[in-house]
Amino acid sequence: MDIKWDKILITGDPLILGSQIAIVLTMVGIVVGLTYFKKWKYLWSEWLTSVDHKRIGIMYIIMGVLMFFRGGVDGLMMKAQTAVPENTFLDAQHYNEVFTTHGVIMILFMAMPMLIGIINIAMPLQIGARDVAFPQLNLLSFWLTFAGAMLFNLSFVVGGSPDAGWTSYFPLAGKEFTPGIGNNFYMVALQIAGIGTLMSGINFIVTIMKMRAPGMKLMRMPMFSWTTLITSLIIVIAFPIFTVALLLGTMDRIFGTHFFTVADGGLDMLWANLFWLWGHPEVYIVILPAFGIYSEVVATFSKKRLYGYTSMVMAIVVISALSMLVWVHHFYTMGVGPAVNSVFSITTMAIAVPTGIKMFNWLFTMRKGRIEFTAPMMWTLAFIPTFLIGGVTGVMLGMAAADFQYHNTLFLVAHFHYTLIPGVVYAVFAALYYWWPKVFGFKLNERIGKWHFWLFNIGFNLTFFPMFFLGLQGAARRMYTYSEESGLWPLYALSAVGAIFLAAGFAALCYNIYWSIRYEKRTTENDPWGTARTLEWATATPVPHYNFAVVPEVTDVDAYWEMKKNKDNFALDPNKIKPIHMPSNSGLPVYMGAAFLIAGFFLVFEWIPLAAISAFLIFAGMIKRSFEYDDGYYVPVEEIIEKERTWRGDSKWKAK
């Protein structure tokens, strides 16, 4: 096995040394703090082992915010590096590592956890469920995602970072050209996180198919839950492809097989093919829940029913079907021939049609409404024109012949930031502001929210709009620097200025969270926005752990809106309360996450015997689970009555 101890820690770079010290200090700080405040037990039993979907959601979101910070710092480093020509802040190798980790972290460890966290919080409430179908599996999903993220982040200080791009194209990513273990981190960490995501997908599908409130037919389901269902479907179909791709990549790198190598018959194109068979659906996996969030917000703050509900549902179904049929548009330039390119151009551009349907439906939801400019609505409004730019440039890229000029340039980079940021990040912000009071019992401050909004928006456009033109000037992506004569400097510099605004905007969000936790007014009002429409607003704020004392009967799309119209419907009849069955917490998922992390770590370092031994830790956990017969527990009626009375008061309480 021949372990090289002196090579394990990355040394000799001030940037990395700094973070190594920072990491150690943070860890020590956390441990000391928890011990000092005697919070270990609380943390363990109320959070880390909690199977409550709302708490799991919160943990996902915390992780997402941390990863946004890490990915954002990567982004800022790249912007600093390219702010002036021939800069030496980062050398080529570091720049490569930075954009690789930036892309992976932003998409897989920021966007996905954020959205899955939001789904976890809102979806079961929206459909009137007590929890998801498999609460313990849900916690396991979280811990696997977390283990994957930790393993991936470890690469920065231990062993070396992946450096072949978030697309990790072979043969570059193979041992023939990157013999170090950096790219092992990519293969193994994403595999672990991917398993977690796949299980989330299965979990959400079963939850939605089986656990809707009585009367909630599929066509009465809130749009966000619809998008969750469709997203989960795509997850279940797309992620196994990635699983295989990563498996084969791992085998090539660690066991010397020849799937994607130059030598002995390997085919590098095949990696690209498999990667995008997953990778393209992946971008719709992150955009569809975002579309769902916007649909909820736009209806709430226009005080109107979502326009064209049926066509909205049809549109996402069509998008999901097409999403699996367009993957070749990422490698039109591979010489696959005009016939193949034509077919995939058609399928790609076809996606504009259902997306357009959604766009226009949102616009018409606002038409004749009464639009309130609350923070969540502001993000939704900003989304429309900016995502439009991202979308139509996507169509330009979809025209294969034209793509020969855009491909691999900053034009493409601009396109995908214009879809990912207004599409996903803005939606995450909108969702945070929108559902925050439901989860925590207070709103985020609107005034600081406006700062956050304007700084981030200006920063975003300033950073990424110039990139369209840089691309047309011939600037390739992933270049760590450029010469002065190239004449690219002015736009690069402009873009770098924008990044400062972005950072300030993100800081404003963090400040807002801090400020609001300390000073913002608390509320127990179930519908703090006053115009909410869906079921999650029909229960207490913050939501009790059993969600609904009595699962409401649903008669129309906007269930809570209907209840409000008919006040009596909403009032709770205490006689109807029965003991509620709840799942019990479990430490097993934490154990499994740790086992995967350990086995993954050894595999990354190619210490095969150790990895094999630690794989038994995983099997042990699975066996333990198989023999577990925990039936959960019941929440007694008295406890429910007491909880419900405190927030309902008399008006929402049906005396016998």
């Binding site: 990355i10 000799g12 050209f177 273990i181 551009m349 439906n361 409404g369 024109p385 047309l472 736009l491």
Partner: protein, 324 residues
């Protein structure tokens, strides 16, 4: 409100300073084609811009109008919006129009795609000049089999004559791109892709690898010099007479990961290896790609040992490759 305005103002002024400060900005090469292939692509791009522009204008106008007109004001506090479900006619219209636009964009896309695969119209009568472009980490190698000459990091071509680039790679996946002359295409080891190019203006054009391939990626550029046929012939002759000969050892050395300046030879490496060939020898040097961090193991192939393996041609394999 005031703050916001001043903020906006400062942003706008920063932009203006940049745009007006006279520091020379690069031109938009894609909009300045120097050959029929790039021109065709530009036509397509312009066509798309018309329609995309139309969509942008309509959607943004609609957006601004609606948001402005229906914003919440103190005086419409009592307004109860109607709970509309939708309207089939309207929904069909906004499905049909984008669909039509997609078709309008699609048709020229397909025709352009097929066009680009062939010798551009008006040049069919000429025999294309064949140049093998081989990419390696991190340099471009151009072989002229007919002329029996080879250049590194620059390529001279005659103006107004079709050139057929046969693209391949000695290792990583790269992309051959001369934005002023045509769109890009990948180069891949043991495979060959083809690209027809015509330069209809004399001049020097910028070309590069646009597909990320590791540490030296940024520097992987080359110059394309489009010369008059006479100048080109003169140059060829000169090279044939004066340039040194390339040997396999020298060549193996050059394939190691490195940056080379311009080099010229009076023979080609196709004499001993064509990297596009399915059974080509590999010349890989994994040990030379080590960077900081934990080393990990590599799997080297005997075939790969350049110094020990001189009789490479009898190296064969079973199986048929008709499926490709």
């Amino acid at each position: 409100m005031k703050k916001r305005k001043s903020l906006l103002l400062s942003v706008v002024s920063v932009m203006l300073v940049f745009l007006l400060s006279g520091c020379e900005m690069a031109e938009l090469v894609v909009f300045n084609p120097k050959g029929p292939q790039a021109e065709k692509i530009l036509d397509l791009i312009n066509w798309s811009l018309v329609w995309i522009g139309l969509i942008m204008v309509v959607v943004i106008a609609l957006f601004v109008y609606i948001v402005w007109k229906y914003r919440a004001r103190p005086d419409n506090a009592d307004y109860e919006p109607p709970q509309e479900k939708g309207n089939h006619l309207v929904e069909i219209i906004w499905t049909a129009i984008p669909f039509i636009i997609v078709v309008i964009l699609m048709v020229p896309t397909v025709t352009t795609l097929f066009d680009l695969e062939e010798v551009p119209a008006g040049y069919e009568d000429q025999e294309p000049l064949v140049i093998h472009a081989t990419s390696a980490d991190w340099k471009w190698i151009f072989s002229y089999p007919e002329q029996n000459i080879e250049t590194i990091n620059y390529v001279n071509i005659p103006v107004n004559r079709p050139v057929l680039f046969k693209l391949t790679s000695a290792g990583t996946m790269q992309s051959f791109w001369i934005p002023a002359l045509s769109g890009q295409k990948y180069t891949m080891a043991k495979m060959e892709t083809e690209l027809y190019i015509v330069a209809d203006h004399e001049g020097s054009y910028f070309g590069r690898n646009s597909n990320f391939n590791g540490k030296g990626f940024k520097e992987m550029e080359f110059e394309v010099l489009a010369q008059s046929p006479q100048d080109f012939d003169k140059w060829v002759k000169e090279v044939q007479e004066k340039a040194p000969k390339l040997t396999e050892e020298m060549y193996a050395e050059k394939l190691k990961p490195s940056h080379l300046g311009r080099e010229t030879f009076s023979n080609t490496h196709l004499e001993w290896v064509d990297h596009a060939d399915h059974h080509a020898k590999e010349y890989l040097n994994p040990e030379l790609y080590r960077v900081h961090g934990y080393p990990g193991k590599t799997f080297t192939d005997e075939n790969n040992d350049i110094d020990n393996d001189t009789e490479n041609s009898d190296h064969h394999h079973g199986g048929d490759h008709s499926g490709h």
